[in-house]
């Protein structure tokens, strides 16, 4: 089948591209748009490293065909920093040492953005539940959870900050 025309917005920028139907959204972002912040791990939806926002919701870009994203608004990790300044959540990860190799980090960040919007003051159990779909091989997760606490604390949500900053 010949290529399909898609038109979509990524991190506020409008794109129009021709894609094979079988091209996965994760590969489209990385190879067609050079947005390599979205990573590819398992390609079956369990590791979370490909997580992006599609119309504001966290989704697995490895389980969506680029053709399906026609008319949609996507946000990837590259869309978090503004004017060269890191997003406060990214700063919290740096401060709390919430990453080592960084491979899983974009997936964690994109999962957390909508979660924290809806739950600005989560307790540790809620944080760990929300992050259960993101795997990390380096950190053992403690500092990732701590980073969420640091971020929430800085946003004025002191209870979360207190609970997880042990």
């Amino acid at each position: 089948m010949e290529n399909i025309s898609i038109s979509l917005k990524v991190n506020g920028v409008q794109y129009k591209k021709f894609v094979e139907p079988r091209l996965l959204l994760s590969d489209f972002l990385r190879h067609e748009l050079d947005l390599t912040g979205t990573h590819v791990g398992c390609e079956h939806g369990v590791c979370g490293s490909c997580t992006i926002l599609l119309d504001g919701e966290a989704v697995r870009s490895c389980l969506i065909f680029a053709a399906q994203a026609d008319g949609c608004e996507l946000t990837t990790v590259e869309g978090l920093a503004q004017n060269g300044k890191l997003h406060p959540l990214q700063e919290a990860f740096r401060e709390a040492h919430g990453l080592q190799c960084g491979y899983c980090t974009p997936g964690f960040l994109m999962t957390l953005i909508p979660f924290l919007k809806e739950n600005p003051n989560p307790n540790e159990a809620e944080i760990r539940d929300a992050l259960s779909g993101n795997l990390c091989r380096c950190t053992g997760y403690q500092n990732i959870v701590k980073a969420v606490g640091v971020y929430a604390g800085k946003q004025g949500n002191k209870e979360t900050g207190k609970q997880v900053s042990t």
């Binding site: 139907p21 590969d27 919701e57 969506i64 065909f65 259960s132 779909g133």
Partner: protein, 294 residues
């Protein structure tokens, strides 16, 4: 790996979709949430020649009041179901079960119809359909028909849907008065496919004896499995802990071993989970009794 090539169609309405299904039949696979199908395509375990993407058909996503239950459109996202207040109230077993499905990111795309039509024996929603005696609406260009859950799940990843049919709606009947429900599953990690899961509903009569009970297991065979022995033990009797223990211990299920769990362990899990869900369903049924009395 990457999926092999396929022809892609994205119909904008139901008629278009049904026309495509009639045209292509078993050469085509319907793409709903894609959270089960696309992994299979990425592994090349599934290689459909034609993909019919129904995500543009807005009219297939809804939660409506039916006469004696809820009517849920097949394309309703699992996360929508998770958060819906009407479902929490009228289909509490569904509300309790959906958070067990995989992870939030999966539930943002996964649909109730997609999961049910995919008929993975390890999936939660087909088990709930069987437990609740749900009715499934199959539509085609030829017309429509209702299929009862007990006739819907035919085999491994196989349903009673014909190649030209689309699962359009799921009807969840209300539980009768004095009913309770429960769902539990055991997975190695939170969000993994369950090694074993059990769902139960129980209805009591005025004297507090069990009038009806349904105990259904997932991950035990090719389809969700309704335990007839549990019903035989409990119906007509007061569900004492000993009787529940006996009902759970004598389920007629035969799980097989795989790399995740041995047959012996899964039989053990079935026993434990069966007891837990029957106990909780009974407690809730008694609680329901109290609220209707007040």
């Amino acid at each position: 790996m990457k999926p092999p090539s396929f022809q892609y169609h994205a119909p904008h309405n139901l008629d278009e979709a049904l026309s495509l299904l009639t045209q292509h039949g078993s050469d085509a696979k319907v793409l709903a949430g894609g959270q089960s199908l696309v992994p299979m395509m990425n592994f090349r375990v599934a290689q459909p020649a034609i993909l019919i993407d129904i995500n543009r058909i807005k009219e297939l996503a809804y939660i409506k009041d039916g006469n004696d239950g809820l009517r849920i459109g097949a394309m309703t996202r699992q996360r929508t179901i998770e958060r819906d207040a009407t479902i929490a109230k009228r289909a509490p077993l569904l509300h309790e079960t959906v958070p067990h499905i995989a992870h939030p990111q999966i539930r943002n795309r996964g649909t109730i119809g997609g999961s049910v039509a995919h008929a993975d024996p390890a999936a939660e929603l087909p088990t709930i359909m069987l437990t609740l005696n749900a009715k499934l609406l199959a539509k085609s260009q030829k017309g429509e028909r209702w299929i009862e859950a007990k006739d819907f799940f035919v085999g491994l990843f196989t349903t009673a849907l014909e190649p030209d049919e689309l699962l359009a709606e799921i009807q969840i009947p209300d539980l009768p008065a004095r009913s309770g429900y429960a769902f539990e599953e055991v997975a190695r990690r939170h969000g993994d496919y369950a090694m074993m899961g059990a769902a139960a509903t129980m209805t009591l009569d005025e004297s507090g004896k069990c009038k009806d009970v349904r105990l259904v297991f997932l991950s035990v065979g090719e389809t969700p499995l309704l335990s007839s022995s549990a019903a035989q033990v409990l119906i007509g009797n007061k569900p004492t802990p000993e009787l529940i223990q006996s009902a759970a211990a004598n389920t007629d299920i035969t799980p097989s071993s795989n790399i995740h769990a041995s047959e012996r362990y899964r039989k053990h899990l079935a026993n434990v989970l069966g007891k837990r869900v029957l106990t909780k369903a009974y407690q809730r049924a008694q609680g329901a009794e109290k609220t209707t009395k007040n």
